[in-house]
């Protein structure tokens, strides 16, 4: 039995068999072997190649049997290239030579050699060749899958309940998660607002992150307990521990039921101020969860899953089907659909020659859309068509200046004209808003407010860009905090500018789901929040327990502080007084 501590990012208890999945950036550590192990390791390399070849040949053959659409033919070509590389004896020899001369494990030799080859390709100016780097990374992944064992597989083919263990989780990987089978998450990297945390909270499953080397402590199939309340993970628990956790689990469910009872009650402060509680969703089937928990609409409908879940670009009908279902279910309640916000992942990276060195600052999100008008217009068309079914609003992510917003609106007008010509109905007066998630947008909120119907502050990215911290990097994840005075100053600026312009401003980042921060946000002037559905009851409880007057005083105190630590402990104490049992 092994016990490890990390950061608790999503509450609850899960106990189950673990499934280890690899992140695309997993670094294989260099491990030495003894000369007596040489034969085994070299054989592992050979076996990995043979299995990978078999796997790919099988895929090729299945591909031949099906209809050859353009996508299938492209995949076939790509796999043909991969097979050539897997058959290349000099490649294999280079790897086995490394095992021999450096006395390292098969898995290290494979990873190191292929990455060296990939980076050599990546350096060549000719794009047709530097593009091959992506192929080499893919081949590396395929071989590593063989070497690291069958339990390290992709998540799409689950047939039993599992607890997922990974180094870190990318949007690509989590897009395939099936709530029926995925019962908990544990990640080596990450912090409170890393993607693993966000997904776990949306799914309402327990998660612990920042475990550092948990992927090396657990083996596929081990029984693992994830304690998302205390931030503890246990591998192969003994009987005593299992029994202890069974008890904890039932206690936790009782608290949950108590909070659920609040569903029917209105979201109003003690001094009668209405706070609109909306939900953030990633998939259409989470919409009913929002309603079930007492949410009043969808403040952020993330649309990336449409791009991540399939190998081909979604069609207009795919978009329409996904949105129409939700919009129709919500009727008069608002549904804010955010246009594609991808970057640093399979979709935008697969079109690149090599992975972008700095994807957060790169061609992502609205910038990618503005350079890929076909893709952008398809999504806009579908959103417009659904706007006759209910109260749909459009939101553009990562807008950094007024020019970008104008461009996006111009494209939208083009699409509206196209629909007019085709006599297709849509809401001509559809509200167009933007996410404020960069310092530039926050500082220029005033001119932006003239061209947008509403703002939604994306605190996750706003914090990252303002503090220059990557929330997924466990080396610096403790530097990431919504309690940083710089961030609070920017939020206050945005709210003031929005109020002056007479437009709505909501907060849709993780900050709004945290009981510690909700009073501060109310005190800063926020009257609408959009949060993970699972957190709606708890946040409503806090709202119903405070007065705006108290929140305003709290905010004034906080804005005078200059230290993150001071702010966060002040907020924690204030929250504890309001909602003692949740802490």
């Amino acid at each position: 039995m092994k016990v490890k501590n990390g950061i608790a990012v999503s509450p609850g208890i899960a106990m189950g068999k673990c499934l280890i999945i690899d992140s695309e950036d997993y670094l294989i550590p260099r491990r030495s072997i003894k000369p007596s192990q040489l034969r085994t390791e070299v054989q592992k390399v050979r076996n990995a190649f043979e299995s990978a070849i078999e796997e790919l040949t099988d895929v090729q053959e299945r591909g031949n049997a099906q209809q050859a659409g353009i996508q299938q033919r492209q995949m076939k070509d790509i796999f043909a290239v991969h097979l050539r590389f897997l058959h290349d004896r000099s490649l294999r020899k280079r790897i086995t030579d490394m095992v021999h001369t450096e006395l390292v494990t098969a898995v290290y030799a494979v990873s190191k050699t292929l990455r060296d080859v990939a980076s050599h390709f990546g350096r060549i100016k000719d794009p047709y060749i530097s593009e091959r780097a992506a192929d080499i990374y893919d081949i590396e992944r395929r071989l590593l899958r063989q070497l690291l064992g069958k339990k390290r597989e992709d998540v799409k083919h689950l047939t039993e309940e599992v607890v997922i263990v990974a180094r870190q989780l990318s949007p690509t990987q989590t897009a395939g998660f099936n709530r029926e089978f995925v019962k908990g998450l544990a990640a080596d990297a990450g912090g409170r607002t890393s993607h693993a945390a966000i997904v776990a909270r949306s799914l309402g499953i327990p998660a612990v992150v920042a475990l550092e080397d948990f992927t090396e402590c657990a083996n596929g199939g081990d029984t693992v307990i994830i304690d998302g309340n205390r931030g503890v993970v246990i591998v192969e628990p003994d009987d005593e521990t299992i029994e202890l956790y069974r008890q904890y689990s039932s206690q936790f469910h009782q608290l949950g039921r108590k909070l659920d009872a609040i569903r029917q009650k209105p979201s109003v402060t003690r001094d009668g101020v209405k706070i609109t509680l909306l939900g953030n969703i990633e998939f259409p089937d989470e919409a009913e969860l929002v309603l079930g928990k007492g949410g009043e609409g969808i403040g952020l409908y993330r649309t990336e899953f449409l791009y991540l879940n399939s190998p081909t670009e979604p069609t207009e009908q795919d978009h329409y089907d996904a949105y129409a279902e939700t919009v129709a279910a919500f009727k008069h309640r608002p549904v804010i659909i955010r246009t594609m916000d991808l970057g640093a992942d399979k979709y935008t990276q697969s079109r690149r020659f090599v992975p972008e060195p700095n994807p957060f600052l790169g061609l992502r999100s609205i910038r990618f859309c503005l350079r890929n008008l076909g893709l952008f217009k398809t999504q806009l068309r579908a959103i417009l068509r659904t706007s006759v079914l209910g109260q749909v609003k459009i939101m553009f992510p990562l807008i950094t200046n007024t020019h970008e917003l104008m461009q996006a609106k111009m494209i939208l007008r083009d699409v509206m004209e196209d629909l007019d010509e085709a006599s297709i109905e849509y809401n001509r007066n559809i509200e167009i808003g933007i996410m404020i998630e960069t310092p530039s947008a926050a500082l220029m909120a005033s001119p932006l407010a003239r061209d947008a119907h509403f703002f939604s502050i994306g605190t996750n990215d706003l914090i990252q860009y303002t503090l220059a911290v990557d929330r997924g990097n466990e080396q610096v994840s403790t530097l990431y905090s919504a309690a940083e005075p710089a961030v609070l100053k920017l939020i206050r600026n945005v709210v003031q500018d929005a109020c002056r312009a007479g437009i709505d401003v909501a907060v849709c980042g993780e900050m709004a789901s945290e009981p510690d921060y909700i009073m501060l946000l109310l005190g800063l002037g926020i009257r609408t929040v959009s949060i993970a559905p699972a957190m709606i009851p708890e946040i409503k409880q806090v709202i119903r327990s405070v007065t705006i007057e108290h929140c305003n005083r709290l905010a004034r105190n906080v804005l005078a502080m200059t230290s993150e630590r001071q702010v966060s402990s002040f907020l924690r104490d204030a929250a504890r007084k309001v909602l003692p049992e949740a802490f």
Partner: protein
């Protein structure tokens, strides 16, 4: 070794040493297709090379690689217009060199040759 003339006549073939296994055949070729020796042509070259028993080496000014290895051929990164030397050593060396030369120069790897150079 007989002297080789560089840079004048684009094509040359020489036969050295009469032992079957050490039969060496060589030629210089020029990559003519539009996108240089990128993936598909490289694959065709490597597939063709692997049909022969002899060793096949491909070199340019900077490097010399195994013509049967897709990894090494891609690394050679030959762009349009670059000259390569193909050296084959073994019993079917002459045949190999003929086939490979034809693939590169005459069939242009079954692709179009570049039009007059455009400015980038």
């Amino acid at each position: 070794m007989p002297a080789r003339h560089r840079g004048e006549v684009p094509e040359k073939m020489t036969l050295e040493e009469n032992t079957l296994d050490n039969l060496v055949s060589e030629t210089e070729v020029q990559i003519k297709n539009t996108n240089g020796l990128h993936m598909r042509p490289a694959m065709q070259f490597v597939d063709a090379a692997n049909r022969f028993a002899c060793d096949i080496t491909v070199s340019n000014d900077q490097a010399s690689v195994d013509g049967k290895s897709i990894m090494q051929m891609t690394m050679l990164a030959a762009t349009a217009g670059s000259k390569l030397k193909i050296t084959a050593r073994g019993p079917d060396a002459e045949q190999a060199v003929n086939v490979l030369r034809e693939l590169v120069e005459e069939k242009n790897f079954n692709e179009k040759a570049p039009k007059a150079r455009k400015k980038n």
